[in-house]
Amino acid sequence: MPLLDIRDLVTAFHTPAGRVPAVDGVSLAIGRGRTLGLVGESGCGKSVTAMSILRLVAAPGVIESGKILLDRDGQTSDLVSLPERDLERVRGGRIGMIFQEPMTSLNPVFTIGDQIAEAVRLHRDVTPALARARALEMLRLVRMADPERRLDEYPHQLSGGMRQRVMIAMALACEPDLVIADEPTTALDVTIQAQILELLGDLRRRLGTAILLITHDLGVVAETCDDVAVMYAGRIVEQAPADELFSNPRHPYTIGLLAARPTGRRSGPLATIPGMVPAPRDFPAGCRFHPRCGFARLPDCAAHAPALVEIAPGHLVRCPFSDALGAPRPSTAGSAP
């Protein structure tokens, strides 16, 4: 039994212009202590998937179907149907969250210490003094310099990297089994990103916390995750252990994404994926990637939505022609979006 098991999740937004299925049948599992990277470009549904886990999707978004099974000491709860009161104990208790922009996630009128202590007291029956002591302990854990002084400071007095450390301290304050980190280092400079990734990896090793890392940065995934799931247009198109995915990508979208990144000095044009990411209200029929796919076989790919198939142990691909794609030779034909 994995720690978190998402089965066939459908989350849609009901807008005046119609139903927009941002997440359209996503299944994912995360084992205890594992790090799963969920990658994809803007609008692919990766953040909506993360928000769905804790039912934080804002109206007009609703979880239409699927199960989100969380293992709580051998007992399984479905977070989709769990009563709100019980879910509040899961949020911040069993599952912690870290968002991209710590400035908007922290309350500007409370001190750092008060905010971490509040997170502790929501889930544990402790005195204010003990909660404050726990807050200090957490700041030490995330290696905040001068933690006693920081406890009484406000978010605006901290740098971006320090604020993200506070977010991590809050997320870990109640010793969660799982931390959902949504683009935790995207707003940070690369040397500060290195500090935060190092810290997350170290905390995971010491505390055994599982991490769901949502990012658009394939490099970050390659250096931090055990497993990777690639999303495109509301669906998972490929999933595999990280080493396997990067050395043997099999879905044309994954192959295209990896080839589009510049590595080294220019020796020819970059490989491109023609066209652009479709908006959820214009997802194409059949395989959603077929209009941009250099390998598409028409009319098959336009007519039939392919299933996610296990082609090797732990390696799942949503493309019936993935066998033929063993040796990546992506299209380099540039074309306007």
């Binding site: 470009e41 310099a145 740098s159 390659a222 510049p262 590595t263 490989a271 994926i273 652009m276 306007a336």
Partner: protein, 355 residues
């Protein structure tokens, strides 16, 4: 290094006043750019890299005088940009254009693409109405769009297409030189590659010269002939792209490169995690500005601003690198020794939250 640079910048300083109190008295200044020099030959691309707040964007804007520099000289094709006024300045500016990072914020949502492209032509009094239309069509086609875009508004286009419009707006004036300020940073990976290819094509077809400003080290390596690394208002290292990426000499460059996550195990470097944050440019540290975060810092680094050491056109401002280069041997050998020292010094240091 090159006979006649198209752009030559020397001793450039751009300081912003810090004002306080009822009378808005100036109580200090942010030294965003504090003594920067470089030159770019015609048809070449200089990449300018560094983290937020290092001053790279201010350098780009100061060169075009979108912000007024405090000191230094900027020469464009022999003309002193800072001493030029009125019609002469306008003539220079036609030849120097800029493309911004955010394709959403840099195009006026109330203007059609035609109005956006025509604005520059009108200001510079270029062409008759039909000549302008021909120029606008040509610029759009060069960027991979069609003339049908002219009557539409920015919101009707995707991020990648908007960035093409921003490039077309610059091209319509037939410039020689473009400042590209993070032109692909806001775009998704698959769209980024399309725009990078377009920039390369335009450079080759039109003989354009680029100042390419970015925090993305991979894109800079791919596009640039030379690269300058900035830290706290200064260039700390400047070399050909090949030399800089193969054998970086400045401890900051080494740390920056090692921090970039990569999917290719062969290109992965031992990660050097710097402690602390970048200090404020309002109060830069004495001596070498990088010394509070530098694992190799020595006593001299705290008090003496390191001068440039130059070897085969590779410039570096670092006391420790200068000493290693002094020991003889090739620059590559010195770079390898410095990388060894950085890895050794970093191993027993825990990264702390703040400096």
């Amino acid at each position: 290094m090159t006979p006649t640079p198209l752009l030559d910048v020397a001793g450039l300083e751009t300081h912003f006043p810090v004002r306080k109190g009822l009378l808005r008295r100036q109580v200090g200044s942010v030294r965003a750019v504090d003594g920067v020099g470089f030159s770019i030959a015609k048809g070449r691309t200089l990449g300018l890299v560094g983290e937020s707040g290092c001053g790279k964007t201010t350098v780009g804007r100061s060169v075009l005088r979108l912000v007024e520099p405090t000191a230094g000289t900027v020469r464009f094709d022999g003309a002193d940009v800072r001493a030029t006024h009125g019609a002469d300045l306008r003539a220079l500016r036609r030849r120097m254009q800029i493309v911004f990072q955010d394709p959403y914020g840099s195009l006026n949502p109330r203007m059609t693409v035609r109005a956006i492209l025509e604005e520059g032509l009108v200001i510079h009094r270029l062409g008759t109405a039909s000549e302008r239309l021909a120029r606008m069509r040509a610029a759009l086609e060069r960027t991979g769009l069609t003339a049908s875009a002219l009557e539409r508004y920015p919101h009707e286009f995707s991020g990648g297409q908007r960035q093409r419009i921003a490039i077309a707006r610059a091209l319509v004036l037939e410039p020689d030189f473009l400042v590209l300020d993070e032109p692909v940073s806001a775009l998704d990976v698959s769209i980024q590659a399309q725009v990078v290819n377009l920039l390369v094509e335009l450079r080759e077809q039109l003989g354009l010269t680029y100042l390419f400003i970015s925090h993305d080290l991979s894109v800079v390596e791919y596009l640039s002939d030379e690269v300058a690394v900035m830290y706290l208002g200064r260039i700390v290292e400047h070399a050909t792209a090949d030399a800089l990426y193969r054998a970086p000499l400045h401890p900051y460059t080494l740390a920056l490169f090692s921090a970039v996550p990569t999917i290719d195990p062969a290109r992965r470097r031992r990660r050097i995690v710097l402690s602390g944050d970048v200090p404020s440019p309002a109060r830069p540290p004495a001596g070498c500005r990088f010394h509070p975060r530098c694992p190799l810092a020595e006593t001299v680094c705290r008090s003496v601003d390191p001068p440039a050491t130059v070897i085969d056109g590779h410039r570096v401002h670092c006391h420790v690198a200068a000493r290693e280069l002094d020991r003889g041997g090739t620059a590559a050998a010195a770079a390898a020794r410095l990388a060894e020292m950085m890895a050794g010094a970093g191993a027993d240091r825990l990264p702390a939250g703040a400096g």
